[in-house]
């Protein structure tokens, strides 16, 4: 791998940018690998990277049916935070936050991680109580968190409507200053490039159509580019988790839903932080290009169509205008959907399965982008050692049988 640096920029500029090398190879699939990762989103690519980097397993293939990062990774609103209520979740997301903080250096790829702060607004007394409880819980877990009053909010975010006459008056917020956003594509590309440099084969346009199981053990996968053997298979396909599980004869506590987002035309800098509201249900930040990036809630019905219904968009837009009346005449440019994999307790599944050598990483639902590095890190550990790391042990499939759910659904600030 040719390292990127200010010097390499200058050198390539002098040769009119004609000598840049592709960031990763496009190898043909081999007959067999020490490990296969199905799904080339951020989580799958991070898994492959940490398998090679932390566990010395570099004879690995990442099989992606489309192009890497074309799933939820490239479709999300990129909010990163770790202020979850329950200790199990908080520690998992905080592991990820720590990795984010050094990720650009580690990957030698600028993932544009910007710790611009994340505010979660409160619109009722109960919201305020929940926020105070969560902020205290976060601090006990060593995670930065503050309670902010409405008047402080008004100063920090000039165009936020903190008037007591608002339809849903804002009473205050929680603030995680280390939270922020990152560049979604760069996360996929950075992990792909770094994994490739360690010997991982990234194979795009390769859809897994079957999982081969013999005597209760995974032995390989069938793909649109032939069959590939491996006795260690990690499935990281987000909204398609149930489809892959069925190939191995398993059923998951997962339902797939459309989740939509949209961006405005680029405007001048107006919002330098991330604002989320669970009560009116909208969240917003401004991209480096100047677009307002707005996310909606899930469509209630099951869907694999990467699109949802318009009333959901309208609802999210109403929320944003309620919070920021100044945006009422900004034009929206693009709208899209992803397929999110929702678990009953709104927490991920990072787990071994009843099939030996077959592992599932799914259930991140509406909020897994923030977890990309940490998810890959613990999942690589799980695949390499055939046992969960203590950080993901609470997120096994067995929790649905034992009843030890990690109920972030009502407890987290909002779905993201």
């Amino acid at each position: 791998m040719k390292r990127y640096s200010a010097f390499s920029l200058l050198r390539n500029a002098l040769s009119h940018n004609r000598n840049w090398r592709p960031a990763w190879r496009s190898p043909a699939p081999k007959k067999s690998y020490d490990a296969i990762v199905v799904g080339g989103g951020g989580h799958g690519l991070a898994t492959a990277y940490y398998l090679a980097k932390e566990h010395g397993i570099s004879n690995v293939a990442v099989l992606e049916k489309g192009w890497i990062g074309g799933g939820n990774t490239g479709r999300n609103t990129t909010i990163v935070r770790s202020n979850y209520l329950w200790t199990e979740a908080a520690l998992l997301y905080e592991k990820s936050m720590k990795l984010w903080e050094g990720l650009s250096q580690d990957l030698n790829y600028n993932v544009m991680f910007s710790q611009r702060g994340v505010y979660n607004l409160a619109h009722s007394l109960q919201d305020m109580r929940d926020i105070e409880r969560r902020v205290n819980a976060n601090r006990l877990n060593g995670i930065d968190a503050e309670v902010v009053s409405a008047s402080e909010l008004g100063k920090a975010i000039p165009y936020l409507n903190v008037s007591p006459d608002a339809r849903y008056p804002i009473l205050g917020a929680s603030l995680q200053r280390r939270g922020g956003v990152a560049r979604h594509d760069a996360v996929a590309w950075g992990f792909a490039r770094a994994a490739d440099a360690l010997g991982v084969d990234i194979i795009e346009q390769c859809e897994v159509t079957g999982i081969e199981v013999k005597n209760g053990k995974a032995v390989g996968v069938l793909t649109t580019r032939g069959s590939i053997a491996s006795d260690r298979i990690g499935v990281v396909v987000a909204g398609h988790a149930s489809v892959l599980a069925k190939m191995a004869g398993l059923r998951l506590p997962i339902e797939s839903h459309p989740l939509q987002a949209f961006v405005s035309e680029p405007i001048k800098p107006v919002l330098d932080t991330v604002v989320m509201s669970g009560a009116v249900h909208g969240y917003i930040s401004q991209s480096d290009k100047g677009e307002l990036v707005v996310g909606a809630g899930i469509d209630s019905y099951n869907g694999y169509g990467q699109r949802g219904s318009f009333p959901v968009i309208e609802h999210a837009m109403q929320a944003i205008i309620e919070l920021f009346p100044i945006f009422s005449r900004v034009r929206m440019l693009r709208l899209w959907g992803g397929i999110v994999d929702v678990a009953p307790d709104a927490c991920p599944i990072l787990s071994k399965t009843p099939v030996e050598g077959l592992y599932f990483n799914c259930g991140w639902g509406t909020g897994g982008f923030k977890a990309t590095p940490g998810s890959g890190w613990v999942f690589a550990h799980t695949m390499a050692r055939d046992e969960a790391h203590e950080l993901n042990a609470p997120f096994s499939l067995e929790r649905f049988t034992t009843g030890a759910l990690v109920d972030e659904h009502g407890a987290a600030a909002v779905a993201h």
């Binding site: 339902e255 797939s256 019905y301 869907g303 694999y304 034992t402």
Partner: protein
């Protein structure tokens, strides 16, 4: 937006309805007789198919009755709506007709 056919009120906009998830899941008659894994499967696991899906909808802002819909989860095309009570289920609906207690399918 989906155009959903309520068996009693006719075709109406999606916003009049609320979604009730997969159809045909019946509460086991004797939960104590089940293993933890079987109970977990009933409570949490769903078929979540890519393609044809039988699901429950409630006409929340209309007649407030539950009914079933068959819908493709990729194209979102609705092929038909049906009443949940066995008498009204077409002969071919073996999945819904079997099971011990399907008269409660809409709960």
């Amino acid at each position: 937006m989906l155009l959903i056919e309520c068996p009693w009120c006719g075709p109406r906009a999606e916003t009049e309805f609320s979604y009730g998830g997969e159809a045909g899941i019946t509460r086991p008659r004797d939960p104590d007789a089940l293993s933890d894994a079987e109970w977990a499967d009933y409570l949490f696991c769903r078929s979540n198919p890519r393609g044809n899906h039988r699901e429950l909808w409630n006409h929340a802002h209309g007649c407030r009755r539950w009914f079933g819909v068959e819908r493709d989860t990729v194209t979102y095309r609705i092929s038909r709506s049906f009443e949940l009570y066995p008498a009204a289920v077409p002969e071919t609906d073996a999945a819904l007709q079997s099971g011990p207690d399907n008269s409660n399918g809409g709960d």
